[in-house]
Assembly symmetry: C2
């Protein structure tokens, strides 16, 4: 059992603000650094529970106001007294578990922050949260999170000035910093590899362009990219996210003719990645019979027509129409997909699992590598009969690990938001997103002190589609 060395809220009222963090995984490093560095000044008591108690303890070891311990965040009996104790909870659990935590928070009148996408079940708790006098802040990481705040800031400014939005585009990418970019894919994993392998799956990408609905099926997604240049960082390419349409409601842009959200990769990535999509190697919906005993070469060959004489290399080139001198082929070769190397899978796996295994070694962020988050928005609006365009971008590079750009841009917005809820700078109640000025303005301001800065520029000749 836990040693509850700090008194519970229901028993004793202290002046200290009590924070409970559920989960101490990779993405919490910067968040916990922010908390521990500010604990004394802000008068915070911080408790961090994780399945791995030692890990949780190690992350707050340097802070006398904080303790880490073993916690099964899915166990209500363990979780509930801690939520009762806290003034504010940050749930870093997988997204599907947030609603249970939220219900506990409502019961114990404890504020809640999660970086995850809001679910319909979560939305349904709005009135209960208001009645409990708490805020449940969702989508306050990087994407979603910083994207909302930075976009909404400019959207609100345009609206206040009397402008009418015509085009909104927004791209974010979790990439490798140029100084650590040493592979032909210009990509390394700075986030859950599984999500990267499955990116874009589960339905057609939806958006609207000049009032026309547009749909891209998964097997075309990586061939319908846009190129964007970020000043000082060169060219990126973006592919469409699953559902851009829903952001019309989120951003109050119901009548906007064009809205498009996407994901950044370095130029050339998507075309090469599409080879795996075309083969069927990213499929996670079935078990690949025989895959336990397949070499990487066998794996690729299982998606190619049978022929006893032709090489797997030539069959792949022919099947995917890859020219002899196409650098894309070099990307594939560099991954070792044609090697006769076996893995030690215990059972047969899905194609996506096999591919992830190949990539995990090759796209690993080395111990001294730095990652990079790139975000870019485009706003075209009409004001006084004229079209205007503003572009806005942000680039954040990681520090020494584990303080990656990913960890920092996910953790700091949540950490700052926590501070502002606890010191009443943010007073909004209910189930919220960070799309209101009273939320995004102070958070964006403090983020700038950490180098998370948006650079805005007006484009002299707006780029329209018409």
């Amino acid at each position: 059992m836990l040693d509850l060395k700090y008194p519970r809220k229901t028993k004793t009222k202290t002046n200290m603000k009590k924070i409970l963090v559920i989960g101490a995984g990779l993405s919490t490093s910067s968040l916990l650094r922010y908390f521990t560095q500010n604990a004394e000044k802000e008068g915070w008591l911080i408790r961090v529970g994780d399945q791995d108690g030692a890990l949780a303890a190690s992350k707050v070891a340097n802070c006398k106001n904080a303790e880490g311990f073993e916690l099964d965040g899915l166990d209500e009996e363990q979780r509930s007294p801690l939520i009762e104790w806290a003034d504010l909870v940050i749930s870093m659990l997988p997204a599907r578990f947030h609603v249970e935590v939220a219900k506990d928070c409502i019961k114990h009148k404890t504020n809640l922050i999660t970086p995850s996408y809001i679910s319909d079940e979560m939305k349904a708790l709005n009135q209960a949260a208001i009645d409990a006098g708490i805020v449940i802040m969702n989508e306050i990481g990087v994407d979603p999170g910083i994207d909302h705040m930075s976009a909404k800031k400019i959207l609100d400014e345009i609206e206040e000035a009397g402008g009418k939005m015509h085009i909104f585009e927004s791209f974010t990418g979790g990439l490798v910093a140029p100084e650590s970019d040493d592979n032909p894919w210009n990509y390394k994993f700075s986030w859950n590899p599984r999500n990267v392998v499955l990116a874009g799956q589960g339905g057609a990408a939806k958006f609207i362009q000049e009032g026309q609905y547009k749909y891209i099926p998964y097997h075309r997604l990586f061939r319908r990219t846009e190129f964007i240049e970020i000043p000082g960082y060169g060219k990126f390419e973006g592919y469409a996210n699953r559902d851009s349409l829903k952001y019309r409601d989120v951003y109050n842009l119901q009548d906007i003719p064009t809205i498009y959200r996407g994901t950044f990769r370095r130029k050339g990535f998507s075309k090469a990645w599409d080879c795996f999509v075309q083969l069927g190697a990213t499929d996670d919906s079935y078990i690949l019979e025989g895959s336990k005993n397949m070499t990487r070469r066998d794996f690729i060959n299982s998606f190619l027509p049978y022929n006893v004489n032709d090489s797997v290399e030539l069959k792949l080139r022919h099947y995917l129409k890859i020219d002899q001198d196409d650098p894309m082929f070099m990307k594939l070769e560099w991954l070792g997909i044609f090697d006769k190397v076996k893995y030690d899978f215990e059972t047969d796996v899905t194609p996506a699992q096999f591919l992830q295994r190949i990539l995990a070694d090759k796209w690993k962020l080395g111990p001294d590598d730095k990652d990079m988050i790139v975000m870019w928005h485009k706003f075209v609006y009409k004001i006084n009969g004229e079209f205007k365009e503003i572009n806005s971008h942000m680039v954040v590079k990681g520090e020494k690990q584990p303080y990656t750009a990913m960890s920092t841009t996910v953790g700091l917005p949540a950490g700052i938001c926590a501070k502002m809820i606890l010191n009443d700078t943010i007073q909004i109640k209910g189930v919220q997103l960070p799309i209101h000025k009273e939320i995004y303005e102070p958070i964006l301001e403090e983020l700038e002190k950490f180098g998370i800065v948006f650079h805005e520029q007006e484009v002299v000749e707006p780029v329209l589609y018409i």
Copy 2:
């Protein structure tokens, strides 16, 4: 309420054999003709229940031993006394409802026949069926059904002769007869249009070739066709069915190096159909926002990149790399997909539903049109150190509607099987498929009298993949 003019089995024993048919839809026409024509000779009493009582009555109007009536086949209270009355039930309900009927049949010790694929729940009833002393015969239509019987006959012959199977391939297609083939797709709907639009979806196609597992994702399926020539009928092309691997167990061919099952279309169909697959127009997984008000042209345009100047035609040609003189484009134009014609959908629909609506008009089997079923098997086996190859094919053309080839090849195997169960020619019990000699032999023999004949020939030089 029904007028039960024939005594129930539990009350009176008559010498008449009692048959209950549940469902009187399109596919039952030939089955009911077989029953009514043989009723007097065989001493059958036949009851046909359908949601549309008038339809059921009309289909057996010419037979004094038969009656049709309104029946909700999903309502156990209505269904159960009829199953109790019958000696044998034929369930033509949608496949997912068969298990409930089967449970009633076990309870009342009534034999059951269905043309649908056997489910795991159905398999689980095997012992209960044996204990009840009944047979539950599944997959006894055309595909599945005639394919099993005709293949297993030759497979058993090869095994008896001491041969060892090396390659088994099997293709079936429901097509339009040459004399009614007057559109550029060489295709008309002779079966559920929805199944045609969704064909191949729901997972990669799986098969094995020379011991190597092969997987084809949906978006590649229609580009990995094989060409087969059927003597007297010209060239067909086949695309792979979802799961050929499971037939290794069904046919007791666990170690066979190559097994491949597929679907026939006329040559050129698949490449043109692939245009819709590539666009994403066959997707049934999401509602196409705005589709209620889309013209056919808008529908196609929603899958193409936005451009204010370029035509939908040119964008499609460019996107799918269709040459100016490619006859495939003519196929697409012939469907009217570029016309500014709206439908009267009441709500937004899925892409697949929109496409089905376009095709329903264009691929309709006209009132005087004849359909055609084509089946082809290839057997390569080793005997006395030598490879041998046998090909076997069947072509059945429809009579005047509603006696289509589809109705006849689905209904006759079931009807003949019913007769043989009732007259004890088939004595097997339990949950079965028509893969045993005692079942397939007499049925294939009688099918020949109806022109459902397999032509076998030995191939002089076996076609191997090695």
